[in-house]
């Protein structure tokens, strides 16, 4: 299942800052993730989870070590090449939703398709379908301010999924939501992983959220502390 690996981190370190104030957030991470896996990353605050996610999401580069995505060495790519990787293969869901303000749900979801150069007709259809899949049919023309937190996160998920990415990266996607809404969001993410085979990398603090994943990686102090596969959960 995990062979050949879709994602492979080898001895990845990340140091923020320089000189005496430098801080090493990642101290040598080795991690291989196969196509179609659902991985939860857990660990105490400050252990480097978000730092690792940013590197995995090609938003940032390791200070040292290598990151292969589909066999491509991301750490050797230019800024624009990494942007194109994100555009074509990755979808992001953030804790803080990060939708464009005063922009309708439909336009938010269309955004990645515009950068992909899809024409208007295909774009509208795909965006509507994505919103339908996250249960927001009828909410297409509402702006974030007119939506609840759970609904905003659904829009964000629709935006991440509308391009059918290879990997969905979610950093604490339920961090701002109540238990019931969190569950609905997790059901959605799980279904994308199960039904469409999308690889999911998710950071969470909550064990019952991590329980949705097939594999749990624990970070402690910039290192991988444990890496467990668990049986089909939830």
């Amino acid at each position: 299942m995990s062979d050949p690996a879709l994602i492979r981190l080898s001895a990845v370190t990340k140091t923020y800052g320089q000189g005496p104030s430098a801080f090493q957030a990642l101290k040598g991470i080795d991690l291989a993730i196969g196509q179609g896996e659902f991985v939860a990353i857990m660990g105490p605050s400050g252990s480097g989870k978000s730092t690792a996610m940013n590197i995995l999401g090609c938003l940032d580069v390791p200070t040292d070590g290598s990151y292969e995505f589909q066999g491509v060495h991301v750490e050797r790519l230019q800024r624009d090449e990494r942007a194109l990787l994100r555009r074509h293969f990755l979808g992001f869901v953030f804790q803080g939703f990060n939708l464009l303000a005063r922009t309708t749900a439909l336009e938010n979801v269309e955004l990645p398709l515009i950068y992909r150069g899809h024409d208007a007709g295909a774009r509208h259809a795909a965006a509507r379908e994505a919103l339908r899949q996250v249960g927001l049919q009828g909410w297409e023309h509402h702006t974030p301010a007119e939506l609840s937190g759970g609904q905003q996160q659904r829009v964000a998920i629709a935006r991440a999924m509308v391009t059918s990415p290879l990997v969905l990266l979610a950093d604490e996607p339920t961090g701002n939501l109540d238990t019931k809404t969190s569950r609905e969001i997790m059901d959605l993410i799980t279904s994308f992983n199960r039904d469409r085979g999308i690889t999911v990398l998710m950071v969470t603090h909550e064990p019952d959220i991590a329980a949705f994943a097939g594999r749990v990686v624990r970070f402690v102090d910039g290192r991988v502390d444990s890496d467990h596969r668990q049986g089909e959960a939830a």
Binding site: G57, L59, R86, R87, A101, R102, T103, Y115
Partner: protein
């Protein structure tokens, strides 16, 4: 890519209607103010120079004293011998008209009107480029005998006769009545702001005998022959009159010789300075508008930085984000510039009508203010975005 980026830019404009509106408004006000001021100033300059041209560009006026205007400051008036001397000795002079002017009240039936009587002869009309609207000029007999006849200007006609033809009617001036034999075509305001058509012309003799009571002449109006140098004519006139008025070598002239071009330069110079002043005041408003735009842009920089972070995270290239912001800035400021130009055109036309100056479209100032507004938009809209687009997407997303 361009098309999609244009779409993104237009969406961003629509999304931030208030910000877009304020940006446009800032530019509209600045551009409209500058163009309107300068256009009106140009119109005023043009109208002044037009009026001067209507006096005849080859007219030279000789007045006693050093000041131009009423009162000779003690310098003696001219005599008819001076007139003859100028006529005979200044070869460049085509027509030489003596003028004696007096302020009077003209009465016709129940109407009366305060005006100026100019005592002269038919050379007055020739030298000053006057044309007749009705009737005739003076006959030789009338001039020689000092008959009570007059040719009136359009303003006097209107005030005393309304729309009626005045020719053949009698008007009263002081204690005598005089027959209107002709009416002049209107010329409009003079360069000095006085109404040239507000005049009653009578034979010199008539005015000297009945109004001024002396043989003096207040002014000489000399028209210079076509092709002859006005400066040379002025020099000759000065020399001749200095000699006739016994002015010693080391003394200053006690008279003044002026040509219309000189008057024109003085007066249009004033309106030009005024135009520049108004333009400068208006440019300040353009600048204030620009500062307003800068404010709006800076206030929204946090939100926009996060927006840029989102776009970068979902796979936008830095140059795509920049192009979007550039288009946004250019669209907004050009729109503002165009509306400003339209508004200025309307306002200048309207105000030019009210002020009675011609409307002259000045392409240079229109283009300059348009470019300036575009530059403001680009500087304040684009450069903050440029910094944000260079950020790491993560840092842009975290921006507070």
């Amino acid at each position: 890519m361009l098309w999609n980026t244009l779409l993104l830019a237009l969406r961003a404009i629509r999304r931030n209607l208030m910000r877009s509106f304020l940006t446009i408004l800032g530019i509209v006000i600045g551009v409209a103010a500058v163009i309107t001021m300068v256009t009106l100033g140009n119109g005023a300059t043009k109208s002044v120079s037009d009026q001067i041209a209507s006096m005849g560009s080859n007219l030279v006026m000789v007045v006693p004293g050093q000041r131009f205007g009423p009162g000779s400051g003690g310098a003696p008036n001219f005599k008819s011998a001076d007139l003859e001397a100028v006529r005979n000795q200044i070869s460049a002079a085509e027509w030489v008209a003596p003028v004696v002017s007096k302020s009077v009240t003209a009465v016709y039936q129940a109407s009366n009107w305060a005006t100026v009587v100019a005592g002269s002869n038919n050379d007055y009309f020739r030298a000053g480029n006057w044309e007749l609207a009705h009737g005739r000029t003076f006959s030789e007999t009338e001039e020689r005998a000092g008959k009570a006849v007059c040719v009136i200007g359009a303003t006097v006609r209107e005030k005393l006769f309304g729309g009626q033809n005045p020719v053949g009617s009698e008007i009263r001036i002081k204690q005598f009545s005089c027959e209107v034999v002709g009416m002049l075509k209107p010329k409009g305001q003079s360069a000095m702001g006085s109404d040239q058509d507000d005049i009653v012309v009578m034979p010199l003799r008539t005015v000297q005998r009945r109004l001024s009571g002396s043989q003096d002449i207040n002014r000489l109006s000399v028209s210079v022959r076509d092709g002859a140098s006005i400066d040379a004519a002025k020099r000759q006139l000065t020399l001749l009159l200095r000699e006739r008025r016994n002015i010693a070598e080391n003394e200053e002239d006690d008279f003044r010789v002026m040509d219309t071009r000189q008057i024109a330069e003085t007066l249009t110079g004033t309106t030009k300075i005024l135009t520049m002043l108004l333009g400068a005041v208006a440019a300040v408003s353009l600048l204030v508008g620009g500062i307003g735009i800068m404010n709006i842009m800076l206030v929204s920089v946090t939100e926009r930085t996060r927006e840029i972070g989102i776009r970068l995270a979902i796979g936008a290239l830095e140059r795509e984000v920049l192009l979007q912001f550039l288009i946004e800035a250019v669209v907004l400021s050009s729109l503002g510039g165009l509306i400003g130009i339209a508004l200025a055109t309307g306002a200048s036309m309207g105000l030019a009508g009210v002020m009675g100056v011609p409307y002259i479209f000045d392409p240079a100032i229109n283009i300059a203010s348009f470019l300036f507004s575009a530059a403001i938009g680009v500087i304040f809209g684009y450069f903050p975005a440029r910094r944000a687009a260079g950020l790491n997407p993560i840092d842009a997303l975290r921006h507070e």
